[in-house]
Amino acid sequence: MSATTDWSLAPASDIAGAVSEGTVGAREVVAAALDRIARIDPAVNSFTDRLGERALARAASLDAARARGDRLGPLVGVPFAVKNLFDVAGLPTRAGSRINRERAPATRDAALVRRLEAAGAVLVGTLGMGEYAYDFTGENIHDGNTRNPHALGHMSGGSSGGSGAAVAAGLVPVALASDTNGSIRVPCAFCGCFGLKPTYGRLSRAGSFPFVGSLDHLGPMARSSRDLALAYDAMQGPDPEDPAATARPPEPALPDLDRGIADLRIAVTGDYFARGGDPEVFAAVAHVARDLGASRSVAIPEAARARAAAYLITAAEGAALHLDRLRSRADAFDPAVRDRLIAGAMLPAPFVERAQRFRRWYRDAVLELFRDVDVILAPSTPCRAPRSGQTTFVLDGIELPVRPNIGVFTQPISFIGLPVVAVPVWLDGGLPLGVQVIAAPWNEALCLRVAHHLEREGVVRAPVAALIDAPLEGA
């Protein structure tokens, strides 16, 4: 890259290459990112803490390491930020809540933050999220709503709204996020960026604030599949501090990223995933499928029931996690979250147990599909980003509340922990749409290969937002 490169907008892979070669210093890259955040983020409201001092000190230490001839990591000099449910030493882990910011500051960074920094990346801040991650909108009454960088009057999606918005606004090339029912995939769709929700248990959750232990996943978001793979590979590996973390050795995705798709059997989900959304949602899936030559269709069995079961388990486990806070601090919650959690606390135990037993059946039935296909495509959301504050939308002629129904297509997939890469599709002059590229457990690398192929073909892309608040066609 030339001396005039705007490092604040460069891909992570270019930054790491340039810092390794000495074309640019890590401090220069990080300073450019901090400057852009200061200029742009007031309009977007994605950051909740800026860590300029820490980041510049870290960058300076990387430059010193290079000057000494030390070995540098694959993400050297790459700025990144994390959803504010990740522990960051010196900050209370607020998880989007008012209550948690009264907690003692974390004494150590979360496991994935440590792993990215061990690979040379530089943490520049924390990002906004829906309260306690019980959210698909990106709206937060305590920190203010995170706005969609592609249309500021629209939702960023949630609960990892800050992560999606920061990536789409070009504030960081990589952000970390969590996904319990769709919280990575929804903001990827609304903000037009790439995201990886790995297999349940693949990436350590140690040092992150939980929501639903049996459904919580952590993963990266980025503006390219290569950056996603870079970050993902740097974060893999067992961790005894997360009881659900796999003991499998890391399976890097980067080496096979360019392998293409000739050997992959790819299908589109029909049935449940082909109705209950705006027409352009299914057009986006068809657009991707056409490029991949995916002409076959599979029906994921009982997906509506799977979504219902995920909904029940989420309500019950989330409520159990927060019961003491609901007893003592109910008035400090976002009312929309509080009322859902209170209802969840009242769920009769047999309803929840039944959902867990159904989960076993559903897992076996879906895994059976992967005998005949390698990758399944499905829409990420039933619509484009709704307007901020919008409480209802009409799907298939039925008016439904927005907040719980944005995740209709993501919940049946994360319910059994399947790996997904969310890819951004721009069909027309309107806001972006998302497609889920889904594989069997532990096959993240296949999802990333497909995403990378689509990106090379120009079928999916994640442009930096122009940051204009004009209603876009089709928005």
């Binding site: 049996s214 029931r305 219902a308 007893r327 929309a336 009322d339 209170i342 037993r357 076993r360």
Partner: protein, 67 residues
């Protein structure tokens, strides 16, 4: 189990919430009752849907998914 729900009238969830709250040690402001009951209605419908699916007695729960 909720599989009876499809054939029976919706229970009085306001009354259920009021009765369950002290059991859970929760205090519900009257202003919240409507929203709590509305959420319970959604959960009740979800439970009914799941409950209608026949499962063998041997189907064990999967509280933490193992891939």
């Amino acid at each position: 189990m909720p599989d009876h729900a499809a054939d029976t009238p919706m229970p009085d969830l306001d009354a259920y919430a009021a009765a369950a709250a002290p059991l859970l040690g929760l205090t519900i402001d009257p202003a919240w009752t409507g929203a709590v009951a509305a959420n319970l209605r959604v959960l009740h419908a979800a439970a009914a849907l799941v409950g209608l699916f026949p499962l063998p007695d041997t189907a064990e729960a999967a509280p933490v998914y193992t891939a």
